[in-house]
Amino acid sequence: MDQDKRTLDFLRLFVRHQQEIYAYILTLVPHVHDADDLFQEGMTVMWRKFDQFESGTNFAAWGVQIMRYQILDYRRNQARSKRVLIEDSLFETLMNHLPTIQDEMAARIEALRRCQSLLDDRAKRIIKMRYEHNTPAEEIASYLKVSRRHVYHILGQINGVLLRCMRRTLAGGSRPV
């Protein structure tokens, strides 16, 4: 039963904080598939090291620390490839900056989740294609029968709506406005 409880504890924390952890990875590794890989690998490491997690402390911060090492390893491995990674100076800037806003992340995510539910059906469909299915902009353009650039414009507009809503929600309390 102890093992069951351990599993449940881990899952409960992981489910609650996964978006914070994933957002950290994606910001530093803005390639969705690589970020997914790192997330999976990092989750395995977190599960293995869960005994070291001090109950009652910040699970997301603990997870982010583990991910940090995963990401550094990934960058070392990718250094010789032709992939366009974010350059070292920017990586360090973001790496240093992200912990300073880590405490705000949960509130931002909660606001975004609420704001997302307020989007109209078309916008929901587009962002579902783009981010859930990771459909390239070119394929969305073909689906919508518009240019790729126009898809960027639409995604930018939806992004803007969500960010405006998120900021207003954070400023005005718990109700999305």
Binding site: L26, Q40, R113
Partner: protein, 516 residues
């Protein structure tokens, strides 16, 4: 900040997520994020949006936290036996779910798992989505999604698969692959045959052979036998009745999108497939070159031009491609374009309407054949073609590589059209580039929505004299290498595309059109 701090920031972020960002764009974005806290904030928030949506839609995000908490809270309570049972069921269900979550994350993610069943023998400009095998690495059962280029897989037991992007497959075992979408060639070298290719509508079994398979997005399947023979059967789930047949060398069979009928007796089309891994394109970076596509896009030949920008053959004005309207002219009128440095002018060639003037100095193209005088936009810095009936845009590809990008520029020259470059002006503007030749690939891509209506011809002229003539018969998708030496005294380089009849689907493009 909820508005992008600079106009194309949203585009750069999206291209970054798509792994399509170019080094110069990355450098620009990086500098802005580093130096401007508002840009940094916008970047982090934008990535947060995509992260939240991506993770909230995954299986793990769908688990209700309340359910977990209720179950955990119940653990300490002691109600009646039914309540205890309900609690145990709830916890058991959650544990099951937890195991599934862990399993799905670890086993069913983009990473392929399981024992190796072959290896990746080589690639040509390959870009993968999800699992990214490298040449020499083992291949495991699982999904592979080749987005650009060509990849050669060698499975144990001597089966070779040549995938041409875009191509999605599931490697099932050493003797079976599922082709989700795209095209591949199978070559079975061992005496033991029976290798299978599954698609949504067909099951193709090797009977000692080399064959190509195309699985189209609508579900239809084509199987082309290049050597030996194959067995083609309808997918038993979709077919109203069992049906299968043997297809011999040189023949092809198609299965309709519904998976209900097989049509055979068609001629095999080896030109639909890449039959060998193309040699890797290695060029001497010290040799400077200029992209004619970029010049058509208003650039200086070094990538500063605008993609998808073209010059209307009827008016000489700039338009945003791809063209969507077929027009007709009965006059051979040369349209000078003094505002474009490096371009002398454009024209609609028709040998039946009198002398075809191809330069501002009055040079003519005396060999110009009779055409209908129809044209479709004009030369464009683009690899995109617009199909009017389906209202879809298609991208020219060669060896699985998309053209019309900054790395692989394309000069779209749909017949009937001509463009003359002023080499003297280009030399003046680029004293450091020695212009000795014009190199490119030229032809009609093979992914046409319909066969071309008539044969097409391409002409490369130097001061009005034919330096190269290429002929593209109907019903063949051919892309050929172009290498035309340019004498130092040549002033005008003219590219012409003509059609003997209706020009529909004669989608002529010059890929990597460089002066070097």
């Amino acid at each position: 900040m909820s508005k992008p701090p600079f106009p194309d920031m949203d585009e750069l972020i999206q291209r970054l997520l798509d792994d399509q960002i170019q080094p110069d764009e990355m450098a620009r974005l990086s500098q802005a994020i580093r130096e401007d806290s508002q840009v940094r904030s916008y970047y982090i928030d934008s990535l947060l949006v995509s992260a939240v949506i991506r993770r909230s839609s995954q299986a793990t995000g769908e688990l209700s936290e309340t359910d977990l908490i209720v179950a955990l809270a119940d653990e300490g309570n002691h109600g009646g036996s039914k309540r205890v049972m309900r609690r145990r069921y709830a916890i058991a269900a959650l544990l099951m779910f937890g195991i599934l979550v862990l399993a799905s994350l670890m086993l069913f993610g983009p990473r392929v798992q399981g024992p190796a069943i072959g290896g990746l023998a080589g690639t040509y400009e390959a870009q993968w989505r999800g699992a990214r095998p490298r040449p020499g690495e083992p291949l495991h059962a699982g999904a592979y999604d080749l987005r650009e280029g060509v990849a050669q897989m060698e499975l144990d037991q001597g089966t070779r698969l040549l995938l041409e992007a875009p191509c999605r497959i599931d490697l099932t075992s050493v003797d079976e692959v599922t082709l989700r979408e795209g095209r591949l060639v199978v070559e079975v070298t061992s005496p033991a045959n029976g290798f299978r290719v599954r698609t949504r509508t067909a099951l193709i079994t090797d009977l000692g052979t080399e064959f190509g398979v195309i699985a189209r997005s609508n579900g239809s399947t084509e199987a082309h036998v290049l050597q030996g023979r194959i067995h083609v059967a309808l997918d038993t789930n979709g077919a109203s009745r069992p049906m299968s047949l043997v297809v011999n060398q040189g023949q092809a069979a198609t299965v309709d999108a519904a998976g209900s009928t097989i049509r055979d007796g068609l001629a095999a089309r080896p030109d639909y497939f890449v039959l060998q891994l193309p040699p890797s394109s290695q060029r001497d970076d010290s040799v400077k070159r200029l992209s004619l596509a970029d010049i058509v896009g208003g650039g200086n030949g070094h990538g500063t031009g605008t993609l998808d920008r073209g010059i209307d053959l009827g008016t000489g004005r700039v338009f945003k491609g791809p063209a969507t309207t077929i027009r007709l002219t009965r006059r051979n009128e040369f349209q000078p374009i003094p505002q474009f440095r490096g371009i002398d002018g454009v024209f609609v060639p028709n040998g039946a309407s009198g002398p075809v003037v191809i330069s501002s100095t009055g040079l003519t193209f005396s060999e110009c054949p009779r055409t209908m005088g129809s044209y479709y936009g004009g030369p464009t810095n683009s690899g995109a073609f617009f199909d009017i009936p389906s209202q879809q845009t298609y991208t020219a590809r060669l060896h699985g590589v998309s053209f019309g990008t900054s790395t692989h520029p394309a000069l779209n020259l749909h017949p009937n059209g001509g463009i003359t470059f002023d080499l003297d002006r280009i030399r003046q503007d680029n004293p450091d580039v020695r212009i000795d030749r014009f190199t490119a690939v030229c032809g009609i891509p093979k992914d046409l929505p319909q066969p071309q209506f008539s044969s097409a011809d391409v002409w490369v002229l130097l001061d009005g004299a034919v330096g190269l003539h290429l002929h593209y018969p109907e019903g063949q998708s051919v892309v050929e290498a172009v290498d035309v030496p340019i004498p130092a005294q040549s002033r005008f380089l003219t590219l012409v595309a003509t059609c003997s009849g209706r020009a529909d689907y004669s989608w002529i493009f010059f890929g990597n059109p460089y002066l070097e």
